[in-house]
Amino acid sequence: MTIKMGAGVRLIGAALILALGAGVAAAQERQTSEQCPAVGGVLKFARSADVSDWYYQGNNPTIWAWPLVNLPLVKNNLTATGLEGAAAESWEANADYTQFTFKLREGLKFSDGSELTAADVLTSISTAGADPQNAGRILEGTTFEAPDDRTFIINLPEPQPAFVESQLTQFGIYPAEADAQTMLTAPVSAGPFILAEWQKGQMARLTRNPHYWNQPYPCLDEVQLLVVGDATTQALQLQAGQIDIAQELPPVQLEALRGMPGVTVPVFPTLAEQLIRLQRVTQPAFADVNVRKAMNHAIDKAAIAEVVFFGTASEMNSEMPRTKYYVAQTPYTYDIAKAKEHMAASGFPNGFTTELLIASGDPVETGISTIVKAQLAEIGITVNIQQVEAGTKFDLRNNRQFEMFLASTSADQIDPQGFWSFCCAAQRNRGSAFTDYIEDDMIALYEGVTKTGGPRREEIFAEMQKIGWDDAAQLFLVFIDAPIGVRSNVQGFVVPPTRTHVLDTVYKTE
């Protein structure tokens, strides 16, 4: 009996020592380092909308938060000019871009501690590709191979130079036995954080993934994504120290916030732009290049940047967002005399009346439309502003029931092929973002770019930008930057141009 008790005590003692040892080891692992000058803490991040789920990337709030939890094979770099490895440490394409071979990092683990192998990658990507919600993203006839635990191969039925950039940043890797339905709400992947709690529409609590490949990141212990719909409330919460980061700030309050103690307002360039799309069928005047050039010269974009965006925007100088292959064009200067010359040379020298479709209750759209209306009046164009609810606005656009459409558009991928297919190359039945802008040279170039890689790809994108710009295809306005409210004790915070949340390097000081 005595012996048994002694053994029990020893067992308990051993367990205690082990537990203490593990605790000490854990504490040692979380010591500060050059990468993480401070470790631990909770970051409260206010966003205007919640994610819809954690598997698909169906809307911006979801796309931005998705990489916090999920690990893809590759990810966009912080300047949106190229890719860097995520699960893959390297990859290569064959000469005709029909085969891509990925080498996975060594020792990868899922957030539950289980091993992540090429078999998991194969199942995850083939499952996602077969999902009807991802239809068209992976071509029929594509095959996958996992010859060993760290090698994954994709064989495409036809050349796709932009395949990795366009598709593989958006498919997460999950355990082979995982099903998509579970991953919607309880994802098991290998991103920097683990979804610990999700109160839909209110808050998502993410805890540090101890098995994340890129140690010692993330520096934080926990991130709370809080849904605060109103931008003014976000600004007030930031001031009160109730949140650490406010994603949406009312432009009108930026100056005041900059002067407040404990608050900083860094401004990050994004891939977003604001322009007015011109429908050629409902308003034949927009088919006249002189009318379009006149309009582009008649609008003072600097005034829009200053008055509407309070300096957090800049004049557009390409229809391409500031991403890979972006080439700056010569801006259409604000020049009423030149605008009048173009109008006189057009088929509508006496002007015409048109309608501008905007979303009601949106101060940015109201501000821009007011300026546009006043300035186009100077060259004889009467603009009637039509305000509708945001959802209705997009439906009217999709049905081509508009003449001028105030668009805020953005690229989610660093390769602009997808963006260009929607905006400018009359793809499918959308006719260049529903404007019916059809330019044969542009379409021919676009067809070529889908199959061309290397330096020629860059050249083709440059040519397409020049064609669209010189043709004044739309009424170009401004590139939009993102002013973010950040508490002064939050360090290492950056927003890449794609606006995805990258919080690996963020740490909080006292």
């Binding site: 909308a49 169906g58 605060v228 007030l236 919460q237 959802g391 929607f422 039945n429």
Partner: protein, 316 residues
């Protein structure tokens, strides 16, 4: 009274069917396709059609409504397109903050309006009474969004004693977090109650039975409580009950400003994403709530007023 309550409850059923049909049709008439919203700009027409078929949106509206009614009988209000979960679950998750906010606002409305109404009625010919009347007019004109932001500025920033929005995780925190949104709602509703209650008190003060009580030498306070206030309370309760619908409408804005995760926020998200099942589920919940409050108001008025009770009994 019990028979009246049962009859009124049964009358709610056709009203709810009517509301559900109206909402069901209206959300579909409004431009905007949930499948296109869900798939974004890169969703092909084929994929959009496939998703519409999956959600049953390719069927005639009347067929869709028939399916919906069948689901309701099984306690199913449909599946949220946006969140991918049963709409009834979403409503249940958001109901506690919404109910808490509404109840809190009603309590604050009464705490503000009853003393003010009594005060201004008793001093109706004095400056203080006039000041209250002016405040009421001002209160009626102030937009709720503005009131909310000003309250947040005062109590969240300048004198930081209350949280700037949010809901909290336990009851004391919730009580603190919801004080400002409830106060915002109360400040928009109180002027209506003050005006109605004040007018009723003045009318009651001039009633014959009140003069009689006074002439008998009954204490002024007792006269006020037993004869004046009880009589004056009846129209005020009716007004309050009728304006619960207004209050529910106001929670949409207030929940948004104060980041309260209630039904109002859910409704806004559901409308913007064309999440039809959730829009209908939230509307029906609001409708049930408003009708229940109206029923309770009628019963309360009947309890307080024998004339109303008699009319209720006489009603077929």
């Amino acid at each position: 009274m019990f028979a009246f309550a049962v009859r009124r409850t049964l009358q709610m059923i056709p009203v709810l069917i009517g509301i559900s049909l109206a909402m069901f049709v209206l959300v579909r008439v409004v431009p905007g396709d949930p499948a296109k919203v869900a798939l974004g700009i890169y969703g092909s027409p084929e994929l959009v059609a496939e998703l519409r078929a999956h959600w049953g949106l390719d069927q005639p509206v009347i067929v869709q409504y028939g399916i919906f009614l069948g689901q309701i009988l099984q306690g199913d209000l449909g599946h949220s397109y946006f969140y991918g979960q049963p709409a009834i679950e979403l409503v249940i998750e958001r109901l506690p903050p919404a109910l808490f906010l509404t109840a809190y606002a009603v309590v604050l409305t009464l705490l503000i309006s009853v003393p003010l109404a009594v005060w201004s009625a008793l001093r109706r010919n004095r400056l203080t009474g006039a000041i209250v009347r002016t405040m009421v007019v001002l209160g009626l004109g102030l937009p709720k969004y503005w009131i909310g932001i000003i309250l947040l500025l005062i109590f969240g920033i300048w004198w930081p004693v209350l949280p700037v929005g949010g809901y909290g995780t336990n009851f004391p925190e919730q009580l603190r977090s919801l004080l400002l949104p409830s106060l915002t709602l109360a400040l928009s509703l109180a002027p209506l109650i003050v005006r109605s209650l004040r007018a009723s008190i003045i009318e009651a003060l001039e009633a014959d039975h009140v003069d009689m009580a006074r002439s008998k030498g009954v204490d002024d306070r007792l006269v006020l409580l037993r004869h004046v206030f009880r009589l004056a309370l009846i129209p005020a309760i009716t007004i309050l009950g009728l304006h619960i619908g207004l209050l529910i409408g106001a929670t949409l804005i207030v929940e948004y400003v104060f980041a309260v995760p209630g039904l109002g926020q859910l409704m806004i998200t559901a409308i913007s994403t064309r999440d039809y099942p959730t829009v209908v589920a939230v509307t029906l919940t609001f409708a049930v709530f408003v009708m229940t409050v109206n029923l309770l108001t009628d019963l309360l008025v009947a309890l307080l007023d024998p004339r109303a009770r008699a009319a209720m009994m006489a009603a077929k």
